[in-house]
């Protein structure tokens, strides 16, 4: 884990992995009739840049859903994406994208910017690692010669009770064996989305086909307080409220 941030650092690859930025989610709310002042972008920027700076990483892989698209965006709505790519490059780091389900219209803009896009997955053979967004089924591990699967998409979170019975909610990393893969699920980078409550949502309502209807009770949650702390907790089975 790359410190108290919603990102991973892969030592072998000198790369930061971050998922689900959903830049511009505010626009969707506006179209729903909910006025949403645009405040999230600086926060997303900080979340992505701090780990890059800390590790002096040369590479960042965004694990899908870079921009929150809900139709063909207009010109000013590219502003955030361009600003992000520019700022990352100024730090001597090169961004890449693994394509997610929200990344349809963004392709042409990214190719204009010369950003490498992996679709549907990025396979890091040396580290036996498959990087996917998580909205599709992964390739069989024996074919890609990998044992680790890193995904986003689910926006996992957890609800914990304190001693007085009050509930607290946290974004989490989830790590553990599912079938033939050791799966790591990354929390979202969108301040606007806490995502699925892994202990209060039923298995059939999970978003990713990789997690849907799966037994996650042996997986380990790492609770994240962004910018402050990240902490390993007991296995998921102890959180069935």
């Amino acid at each position: 884990m790359a410190g108290p941030w919603p990102a991973l650092y892969l030592d072998d690859e000198d790369a930061i992995i971050a998922s689900d930025l959903h830049i511009g989610l505010e626009d969707e709310r506006e179209l729903m009739g909910i006025h949403t002042p645009k405040t999230t972008f600086p926060q997303i920027l900080e979340q992505v840049l701090t780990p890059i700076k800390h590790y002096n990483a040369k590479r960042i892989v965004i694990l899908g859903d870079l921009k929150h698209e809900f139709g063909r965006p207009s010109e000013p709505e590219w502003w955030g994406v361009k600003k992000l790519v520019k700022t990352i490059r100024e730090m001597g780091c090169e961004p890449e994208l693994v394509r997610g389900n929200h990344d349809n219209y963004i392709m042409s803009v990214l190719s204009d910017l010369g950003v490498k896009v992996h679709d549907p997955a990025l396979i890091l053979a040396d580290s036996e690692c498959v990087l996917m967004h998580g909205h599709t089924v992964p390739p069989p591990p024996e074919i890609v010669r990998a044992r680790i699967l890193i995904i986003g998409h689910e926006h996992p979170s957890i609800t914990v009770r304190d001693g007085l019975g009050v509930k607290h909610r946290y974004k989490i990393f989830l790590s553990g064996q599912i079938g033939a893969y050791h799966v790591i699920v990354l929390p979202s980078n969108s301040p606007f989305s806490f995502g699925s409550d892994m202990n209060e949502t039923s298995p059939k309502h999970r978003l990713s086909p990789i997690l849907k209807n799966r037994d996650l009770s042996e997986m380990i949650p790492y609770l994240l307080e962004i910018g402050i702390a990240v902490k390993e907790f007991p296995q998921m089975k102890y959180f069935q409220l």
Partner: protein
């Protein structure tokens, strides 16, 4: 003149001769005029704005209309009535109601259809009703054939003044009547109406005569200012007709048993129902008020048992029941066919319900005014005595009832509270103004708004921040697309409509009453026990124990809009009861209870025997023998307890008694005995809890009641109460409270209400409805982000609403200021494992909320530990 009180009561003949002969003829059929008619009719005829305050059923609606009808009849005779609205009658009640039938339509028909009227061949005076239920077809009809008197609601009026065509019917309105003004002015609905009236006035070339109709409340001067507003810097003139105590009332206090400390709850409630049954059978028609809907159902069920009452003659009336059912109950009441009707609050307001012999109030009505309003439903005609019995089974309730009865008889009332400078309501009006005309100068709009009593002290920067918010000006960075409902030109100081659909947005989202989805709660056996809020349901997990209507239940499952529970008597709730549906005790009443405590204490000190003390209480508060004995026993127990501790003071309004109590789980509980009412106690408790939480770096739970509050500190941490009391100064309450309420459930929920009122979150948009759950989720996500914006008005308003309207931060400040200047004092008792009798009911109630000022990293550690502990307890 500004605000003054009517001094002159005119004689009947004088009043009659000032009216048009047709009206005078009709009125002379009555033997005499009511007091409010004798005062008010000449005032209204002289176009003086008037506030009429008198009990329900004293004919004030007719007092307001008679002068107006007279003026309109004069015009009608000269064939000079123009096709436009002369008089607007605004009522908060949507289902209009036989009151209008009786006090406007019937007299008007009688007057204009009389023989002499027919022979003169006068013009028709038209009356129409326009509410949210009025169809487009009916509205079109009103355009073609304009009503002269228009009956409407505050919301429909606000839409009407922006309606492109109908607006033209409102160019010269002469009278506006605001009915049930006491009910309206203490809520945001009233704040909204006060600005609508100023916007309406702003469209006229001459002043509108405003008439307010109020039940018995206090202070009338402020209600009058609320009604008439200001003209520039000057208060507008208004004359107050105060005939509040014209109606004789007799209130007695009763207790089902004479010892409430040692009698089991099941016996005292059995006795309660027996006593109620006796009262019902001894009277012809009885109206019973309970404070909750579930309580109404329970009482009706108990009364129906045993067969002494005919099932057809007993019914329930409350807001959860269908409109048809309620209408039927009202009709049968009016026809005199009911022996008893049990209601929560729904029969409190002005609906004419015929003749009632007795009102029973179960539990405490929590305010003197409300008590008089409810008891006033009995003996409806003015000359008949209103008889009421206040009956309760909880000790604090009985004491409250005793003091209420005493104060009501003395003619003292508690003051109402009028919210001010609400930025969400302001936002809605700015949108309305932008719809009303194409361009406004910001300073003009500011002046119109400031004419309302509720915005008298509105700050210019708050106003400009609302314009900034509405024009989409709150952005963290340049370069993104801006969404605004209005445009605002800072340089020119002008604003106007921007969004194309703004008119539709305005008229489909107008209003101030928060919408809530209520979940019905059932026992597994299928029996309905009450309702909870949808947002509260979301916080419940299987196995949670929570409070509902004073009882504890274990949550089992939810399906659709239903929740299933099992009874769990005697268990401590595991989740805070944020959703308290209880009415708060008024501060003025709380002060009086404190004084009453002091008086009784003096008698105890003087060595008065128990029987003599009972007699003293009974005489002073009109309590029956049981009630007086129960109160004297309760006070005696507290007195003996204080003596054992070696203390020389009793908890009164001047002495706040603080207990340092260790419970069975060895947790420290700091109990403050202070009867200032829930609103002040809520503010004080959270400010203290914030202090403890910061000092000890732990979470603190609060338990809040009208009679005091308690802080519970987790085992392992202890604080010296003296230190706590020394540190918290009056000027620290506000900043601490603002910190303490962040991230609480109440803020999350109130933010949704405010954002909906401010049209930040729309209920209806592009023909679709946005569900509450969806809005609530968005509210929760938006909140932390808005914190980063400076002075975002809707967030500021949410905090204001919570600390000023829900709680009473100013009241809490003045209490601590009194402590600092020595007018009140705080007495700290020794550490003990026995709480004082006055605290028992507080300890028995479930906790209300948690204040958690731990740093975020510590909280994570703390949660980790509690999870590990729980795993350990499971035997692993």
């Amino acid at each position: 003149m500004t605000i003054s009180t009517a001094r002159k009561e005119y004689r009947r003949e004088q009043v009659l001769s000032s009216l048009d002969p047709l009206v005078a003829d009709w009125l002379s059929q009555f033997p005499d005029l009511t007091p409010s008619q004798k005062y008010a009719i000449p005032l209204i005829l002289s176009r003086t704005s008037t506030l009429i305050a008198s009990p329900t059923g004293s004919g004030k609606t007719l007092s307001a209309f008679l002068g107006i009808i007279s003026e309109l009849v004069k015009l009608a005779k000269q064939n000079a009535l123009e096709p436009r609205v002369y008089c607007i009658y605004v009522s908060p009640l949507r289902s209009l109601n036989n009151d209008i039938q009786k006090n406007l339509l019937q007299p008007l028909r009688a007057i204009t259809m009389s023989e002499s009227a027919n022979s003169e061949g006068i013009q028709e005076i038209r009356v129409s009703v326009r509410t949210g239920d009025t169809s487009a077809q009916e509205r079109a009809k009103m355009l073609a054939k304009s009503p002269h008197i228009l009956i409407t609601t505050p919301e429909s009026l606000a839409i009407m003044i922006t309606a492109p065509k109908f607006k033209n019917k409102l160019i010269d309105v002469r009278w506006v009547i605001v009915d049930e003004i006491h009910e309206v002015c203490s809520s945001k609905r009233g704040v909204h109406l006060s600005v609508t009236l100023e916007r309406l006035q702003n469209m006229m070339s001459r002043p509108i005569c405003r008439i307010g109709l109020s039940a018995t409340i206090q202070p009338l001067d402020d209600v009058a200012r609320f009604l008439v507003g200001y003209d520039g810097r000057k208060e507008r003139d208004c004359v107050v007709v105060d005939t509040r105590f014209a109606k004789p009332t007799s209130i007695t206090v009763s207790s089902p048993v004479e010892d409430l400390i040692h009698t089991s709850p099941s016996i005292s409630s059995a006795e309660l129902y027996r006593r109620m049954k006796d009262l019902v059978t001894a009277n012809r028609t009885t109206l019973i008020f309970t404070n909750t809907r579930a309580g109404a159902e329970r009482s009706a069920f108990q009364l129906s048992k045993g067969g002494s009452l005919n099932v057809d003659e007993l019914s329930v009336h409350h807001g959860s029941l269908s409109r048809d059912h309620r209408k039927e109950v009202e009709d049968r009441l009016k026809e005199g066919k009911m022996r008893a009707v049990v209601t929560s609050t729904s029969l409190e307001l002005g609906i004419d319900i015929g003749s009632i012999d007795l009102v029973i109030q179960v539990g405490s009505p929590k305010s003197i005014s409300r008590c008089l309003q409810r008891v006033g439903r009995a003996g409806h005609a003015l000359d008949r005595v209103s008889k009421g019995v206040l009956i309760a089974t909880e000790r604090d309730d009985i004491v409250e009832n005793a003091v209420i009865a005493e104060q009501a008889t003395k003619g003292k009332l508690d003051r109402i509270y009028i919210p001010k400078n609400c930025l969400d309501v302001l936002s809605q009006h700015i949108v309305g103004m932008a719809v009303e005309r194409s361009q406004w100068t910001a300073s003009d709009a500011f002046h119109v708004i400031r004419r309302s009593f509720c915005y008298r002290s509105l700050r210019k920067d708050d106003f400009l921040n609302v314009l900034k918010y509405l024009s989409g000006g709150y952005q963290s960075l340049e370069g993104f697309r801006v969404y605004g409902k209005i445009w605002y030109d800072k340089v020119e100081g002008t604003f106007g409509r921007k969004a194309k659909l703004l008119r539709v947005i305005y008229s489909t989202n107008i209003g101030t009453i928060p919408d809530e989805v209520t979940i019905k709660v059932y026992l597994l056996s299928g029996k309905w026990i009450g309702t909870i809020d949808e947002t509260f349901l979301e916080r419940l997990s299987k196995g949670d124990i929570f409070l509902l209507g004073g009882r504890t239940y274990e949550f089992r499952a939810a399906r659709g809009f239903k929740a299933y529970v099992v009874r769990k008597e005697g268990s401590k709730p595991t989740v805070p009861s944020w959703f308290s549906d209880l009415l708060p005790l008024s501060f003025d009443l709380g002060e009086e209870i404190g004084r009453f405590r002091d008086d009784v204490y003096q008698k105890l000190l003087g060595g008065l025997s128990d029987p003599d003390l009972s007699t003293f209480i009974s005489k002073r508060t009109n309590s029956d023998n049981n009630a007086a004995t129960a109160i004297s026993g309760y006070f005696r127990a507290q007195f003996d307890f204080i003596r054992t501790l070696g203390l020389d003071s009793f908890p009164t309004n001047k002495v706040i008694f603080v207990e340092d109590y260790r419970d069975f789980e060895n947790r420290q509980n700091i109990i403050f005995n202070c009867t200032y009412g829930r609103r002040i106690n809520d503010a004080l408790s959270r400010a203290y809890a914030h202090l403890v939480s910061v000092e000890l770096n732990t979470g603190v739970t609060t338990t809040i009641r009208d009679s005091g509050f308690m802080l519970t500190i987790p085992e392992g941490s202890v604080i010296n109460p003296q230190k706590l009391v020394n540190i918290l100064q009056a000027n620290q309450i506000r900043p601490r409270l603002l910190e303490a309420i962040k991230k609480t459930e109440i803020v999350k929920r109130r933010f949704r209400h405010c954002a909906t009122r401010a049209l930040m979150m729309l209920k209806h948009y592009k023909g679709r409805e946005i569900r509450i759950a969806r809005r609530q989720m968005n509210a929760q996500l938006l909140l932390p982000m808005l914190e980063s914006l400076k002075d975002f008005p809707i967030l500021k308003e949410t905090y204001r609403e919570v600390i000023e309207d829900v709680m009473d931060v100013s009241g809490a400040e003045s209490i601590l200021a009194d402590v600092q200047n020595g007018t009140r004092r705080i007495l700290i008792g020794p550490k003990t494992d026995v709480p004082s009798p006055f605290s028992h009911e507080l300890i028995a109630s479930g906790f209300s909320d948690q204040v958690l000022m731990m740093d975020r990293k510590n909280l994570l550690e703390h949660l980790h530990e509690s999870v590990l502990r729980r795993i350990g307890n499971d035997g692993r």
